[in-house]
Point group: C2
Chain length 396, copies 2
């Protein structure tokens, strides 16, 4: 199938495409209410979009008291690929133009195997999704990687947990392989975009999205746009000091947040607790599996294990301590907690909330919701699709 290579010719068309993406199919009249354009001009632009195939007319809607309207919708055959590369697994999903997920695969994989091995895997998963019939090809792909990215070029820069990726031309390479436009971003930023598009952060202009996975990162949204910082490393809060002269961290400093919490630290602490005999529950799991992961702590906690609950509470408190500072500084309208450890659920959330509400300024916390992300593993891939969609739906 031939892919849509067309792009909106002007800002009006871009605006219309985004309205259709975020608001679903719509009549000309309804679109006219949402955009500041005369009916005539609107009709012209829609006709042009129909000609280029970016949108399609799709039957008549029910009457609302008068002439029935034509439904205008985004090209039904348009397919986007969303890729979310985590430290220990890869998510790949296919969406339509409205960013609805049509197929989603997840595969464990160590990002440290390097870009070549990971891309092989990603392309294989994309092929599987194509074979399953949800897509015949891709009009664009968004991809998130667990580290800082030089955004305009789509190249990771000095990523601590994936050194082999430093300077690897992710965007160019993947674009070549897939034959479609590709955009690359930090995985945390994509999670923020996902929750903004389809999750808890809809209609919030300024918010933070804290992702607690193997490490800890934070997506920053200012005025509805992701803020990436001067060198693309904004939101890298895992190595903010949570305890002066505290535990040594892999980064070389002491007392970093990631030395106390996150998937890696939690697993390490849990194994220590199991060996020290502080938790029979965890010891049993360690015996069985040979090693422990965050999910084991989650399971032990829901089984009522006190040590597991303590580990979660302590981690949440440390995290809350750091978030409290960020809340005072940034004064967000919402804080979203997400990532792999959301399985720790409300124990974690309660600890974070307690600490933030206790420590931040009342004016900043007065009306501040702190909530779990509602998209789970779909947040990253949705954000990735959103990223490339934003790119495709901007004037050429």
């Amino acid at each position: 199938m031939r892919r849509m290579t067309a792009r909106p010719a002007n800002a009006h068309q871009a605006r219309l495409l985004r309205l259709l993406r975020d608001g679903g199919p719509n009549s000309r009249a309804q679109l006219g209410d949402q955009i500041d354009l005369s009916r005539s001009k609107l009709a012209v632009e829609i006709d042009r979009l129909l000609e280029t195939g970016l949108v399609a007319a799709d039957g008549l809607a029910a009457s609302r008291g008068g002439r029935r309207s034509h439904n205008i919708r985004l090209a039904p055959g348009l397919r986007l690929l969303g890729v979310d590369i985590g430290a220990t697994s890869v998510d790949v999903a296919v969406t339509n133009a409205e960013l609805e997920i049509l197929g989603h695969l997840n595969q464990p994989m160590d990002v440290r195997e390097g870009p070549v091995a990971v891309f092989e895997q990603v392309l294989d998963m994309a092929a599987k999704l194509r074979a399953s019939g949800v897509a015949e090809g891709f009009d664009g792909a968004g991809i998130g990687v667990p580290g800082p990215v030089r955004f305009p070029e789509g190249v990771p820069v000095a990523p601590p947990i994936m050194p082999g990726w430093d300077g690897f031309p992710v965007r160019e390479a993947l674009s070549q392989e897939l034959g479609c436009p590709v955009m690359v971003d930090n995985d945390v930023n994509l999670m923020a975009m996902g929750e903004q598009h389809a999750g808890v952060a809809r209609s919030v202009k300024d918010f933070l999205c804290v992702k607690i996975g193997t490490g800890i990162g934070c997506g920053i949204v200012v005025g509805g746009e992701v803020y990436r910082g001067t060198t693309g490393s904004a939101g890298d809060i895992g190595h903010i000091q949570a305890e002066p002269d505290g535990r040594p961290c892999a980064c070389g400093n002491h007392g970093c947040l990631e030395a106390y919490f996150g998937g890696a630290a939690l697993a390490r602490d849990a194994e220590a607790a199991a060996r020290d005999g502080r938790s029979a529950e965890l010891a049993a799991r360690l015996e069985e599996m040979g090693s422990l992961a965050a999910t084991d702590v989650a399971a032990a906690a829901s089984a009522g294990d006190a040590t597991a609950l303590d580990l979660i509470r302590e981690g949440g408190t440390r995290t809350g301590q750091v978030i409290a500072g960020l809340v005072s500084f940034f004064n967000p309208g919402l804080v979203v907690i997400g990532g792999g450890v959301t399985g720790l659920g409300h124990t974690l959330l309660a600890a974070i909330r307690t600490q933030v509400y206790r420590q931040s300024l009342p004016l900043a916390t007065g009306n501040l919701p702190i909530v779990l992300g509602e998209l789970g593993p779909a947040a990253g891939v949705t954000g990735a699709a959103r990223l490339i969609s934003d790119h495709l739906f901007s004037p050429a």
Copy 2:
């Protein structure tokens, strides 16, 4: 003298006015190079600006190889009032349309005396400046207050150090008194705008401006625009925790940065050091004055007093600790240190730098300048003038 009530009629005119403000007088041809408009359209807009009196033609420039150009400049009679209300003093200045300071007054005053008393003082100072001949009236005024502001309305909200100002309609009241448009913002944001317009932060898009006065605040600039947060309290970093379970703070929490540093904390620590006999230098000053201020510590330090130097270094280290976290989070392109305690100079700066470079991520600090503001007390009033100028030079 009649004031300019005219406002630019469209975005082009606004753009031209800002070019003239930031780049100084210019010929039509030079303006044409900086704006994406045809010569004809440009001429039309400039003619309209000349008609409304917003700009003036001001003689011929030297030839550059051909016909001499007419100099176009902003209305030479335009006058802006910049007001910077600090915790313990008030600055009032008059600028021309290019934001050059034509007159500047400073007066000690306690902000806690409340808005009525402070405004009386401000109006008196403005009258003095008028009487000195630098202005016959004001076309607009910008005012900074040491606390959070609901920006669109120009009203302080729950300001900790000036409780009597809560909800006082600063913008409306001052606009009534002065008979011109008024904009209100946090004093720290104005300092950031000042350094951005005429100081060290020219041409930097994303930066932080840490103001260490009586308290400690931080101006946040994202993409060239001041970020104020959801409730206007963004940048309030004085109560970020610098030490878990540390010193009690006036805010009710423990270990806040302001409990360790800032004008108030420094004075308190210096007096304690004087009484404990740790510093003969400080003790002598305490004897003489009855109390100590940050300036005394600065003086003692430049006299070589070891205790004073220690106090500054310790404060700088605490501040650097907090800034390090913000740098990791925000990844700015520049950090500006300013405010009353800049008198502490390079001892302070060195301590902050050491801590930030030691603690933040290399990627975020790699190319990060940390510098003292270069405008001193003029930063606030320049920023205030810039604030109202931005308002006046936007389409009506």
